[in-house]
């Protein structure tokens, strides 16, 4: 019988390794001035440098180096005082030069770490993921395989290449081997990529969109028999393109390897591909060994030797670490754990914070964004932030706080803004949604209600306070729901001698 995940964990210890590739959001490519804009027509963003035409010379993008240093510092790395580029030689048409400019034995950042928190059976536990290196390289072009039915290489008659992406700055962030994660290996992998993504986003160095491929993860995992003290053979699962898939890929791969080992089969060191539908992996192209890439120093580029003072300047600009910021906001806003998690998962933390910064009450801001606005966003299958701005939401919250709107009216204003009827002010104007706060107008409505229900009014005069509900209801109806019910009650009871 096949081993389950729990069976595998009972017998084997997993060791993880994660390689994350992140495209920088610089305006131009790593070594030339071509635009990095996503989604351009094929081959509209190329030049002699990124096409590898004879006689062209690459020159490093200074912002890419600054971004690499930012990433290294945020991951607690040492920044190398001297670092060089190298050619990684391979024959594959995704690079027109027949090599990729990368870094080999002299990467720009080394020896960092990133702590991630995992919910374990014994409560929240911190795992330290050690970072081996962060190096700079360039992305490859995109191939379209024509002929054959699957768009894959097998059976293709020819391939069509678009080099718009070739040369876009790419950072490779490589962890050391991560032992000791036990059954939490899949969660640790996911938490690491999540935290890394949040850090990269907070640094503003990348769009970090896994679905567009600007953040890609290769996940290595190996199993060794418990207590053996040896390290198993690892497999590498390529280009896992969502956070959830990172977790599923490791989980699936651990089960596959555990079952192979159980049947006395060897694990082959190979590249595998994650299958989104089944959560399993299948073998990919056999990996050329590092030696086969025939790395050598790139003669067309001079060394990168960042000044210590420049590094310190960059360090001073680093934003608050996302995990620290989350804890601070949770305390400042007094948000329960569950709601905080919901806000983070909905990726609305920045939006709520922006709303609070504009003077809105944190609880109200959270409630609007995660409640009504998210509900409509889900219905329309769009992002909540595409429906309203933090400024609009803050304005509505402040109007409720000042008594100009009731919660009920505020809901209609939100509805109107989402429907494209204009700013909150314009919606209030057009729909006539102002709270009737003019006491004389209210008194007229109150007197009318008393005149139409004299018996009820008498009961209230006799001390039956709950009976006032019917009269308040009549006033609210007469004012189209635009009166402040508390004020109506106050005026009514006073008028009836209560």
């Amino acid at each position: 019988m096949a081993l389950t995940y729990d069976d595998v964990i009972a017998k084997y210890e997993p060791t993880l390794g994660l390689e994350v590739h992140v495209e920088l959001n610089t305006n131009t490519k790593m070594f030339c001035g071509c635009s990095t804009e996503f989604g351009g027509e094929p081959n509209t963003q190329t030049c002699p440098v990124c096409l590898g035409l004879p006689g062209s010379l690459p020159v490093v993008n200074e912002v890419a180096i600054e971004s690499a240093i930012k990433i290294g510092l945020a991951l607690n790395c040492s920044i190398a005082p001297f670092s060089r580029f190298a050619r990684k030689n391979y024959f594959y048409p995704d690079m027109p030069k027949d090599f990729q400019i990368s870094q080999y034995d002299e990467p720009i950042c080394v020896n960092g770490f990133l702590d991630v928190e995992i919910d374990t059976d014994e409560g929240v536990k911190t795992f330290r993921v050690e970072i081996e290196r962060v190096h700079m390289e360039e992305d490859t072009g995109k191939s379209l395989h024509v002929g054959g039915s699957t768009g894959r290489i097998h059976g293709a008659e020819y391939s069509l290449l678009d080099y718009n992406r070739a040369g876009i700055p790419l950072m490779e962030i490589v962890t050391k081997m991560i032992p000791g994660t036990e059954k939490y290996a899949p969660q640790v992998a996911r938490a690491y990529v999540t935290e890394l993504r949040d850090i990269l986003r907070s640094l503003g160095v990348s769009d970090v969109k896994m679905e567009q491929g600007s953040l890609r993860c290769d996940a290595n995992v190996s199993l060794s028999p418990r207590g053996s003290g040896t390290l198993g053979t690892r497999s590498e699962t390529k280009n896992v393109n969502s956070l959830r898939s990172v977790e599923r890929a490791i989980h699936g791969e651990m089960i596959r390897q555990g079952n192979r080992l159980e049947n006395g089969e060897r694990i082959i060191q190979e590249t595998r591909h994650f299958l989104e539908e089944s959560g399993e992996t299948r073998p990919g192209r056999s990996k050329e060994t590092a030696e086969d890439y025939r790395y050598f120093q790139e003669p067309d580029l001079v060394p990168v030797a960042p000044d210590a003072s420049w590094i310190e300047e960059i360090r001073a600009t680093l934003p608050e670490r996302p995990s620290v910021r989350r804890k601070r906001l949770q305390t400042e806003w007094a948000v329960p754990e569950k709601e905080m998690t919901a806000m983070i998962n909905a990726e609305l933390l920045d939006t709520v914070e922006a709303t609070v910064k504009l003077g809105a009450d944190p609880t109200k801001a959270r409630t609007w964004w995660l409640g009504e606005i998210s509900r409509v966003a889900n219905e329309k299958e769009v992002e909540a932030i595409s429906l309203m701005t933090p400024a609009q939401v803050a304005e509505i919250i402040l109007l409720v706080a000042s008594g100009e709107l009731t919660d009920k009216l505020a809901r209609q204003v939100v509805e109107g803004v989402i429907a494209g009827e204009g700013t909150p002010r314009e919606v209030i104007e057009k729909r006539g949604l102002k709270v009737v706060s003019d006491d004389s107008a209210l008194m007229a409505a109150i007197e009318a209600a008393i005149a139409s229900q004299p018996d009820t009014a008498q009961r209230v005069r006799d001390g039956n306070i709950p009976a006032a509900g019917a009269l308040i209801g009549a006033v609210m109806k007469a004012t189209g729901g635009q009166a402040d019910a508390a004020r109506v009650r106050e005026l009514l009871l006073k008028h009836l001698g209560q």
Partner: protein, 99 residues
């Protein structure tokens, strides 16, 4: 002792996707061997106080500002390509690999 074996040359030829006859391999293995021995002599002259260099000029930190420069038109980009289709470079089927 040979600095490079015939098998290593065959391996490099395979990596470089260059087809070589048996005679060509023999010939090239012996030529490359001589070249490597010449490089060895240069290396002997460079003692520990001479750091390996990738560049003849003592330059570092040559960078450019992150400013977009107009790219080639797709027509120009593709003008030197042996074949193209759908505004893309057309290359023969890639053998032996699965992605």
């Amino acid at each position: 002792m040979a600095a490079i074996s015939r098998d290593e040359v065959a391996h490099l030829a395979r990596l470089a996707r260059i087809e070589m006859s048996s005679e060509e391999l023999d010939h090239l293995a012996s030529e490359l061997d001589q070249i490597l021995h010449a490089v060895d002599r240069v290396q002997e002259a460079a003692k520990d106080d001479v750091p390996p260099t990738s560049h003849p000029l003592p330059l570092k930190n040559v960078t450019r500002p992150d400013v977009v420069i107009p790219s080639l038109s797709p027509e120009d980009a593709l003008s030197g390509a042996p074949a193209s289709d759908e505004q893309r470079f057309k290359v023969p089927q890639i053998l032996g690999d699965a992605e």
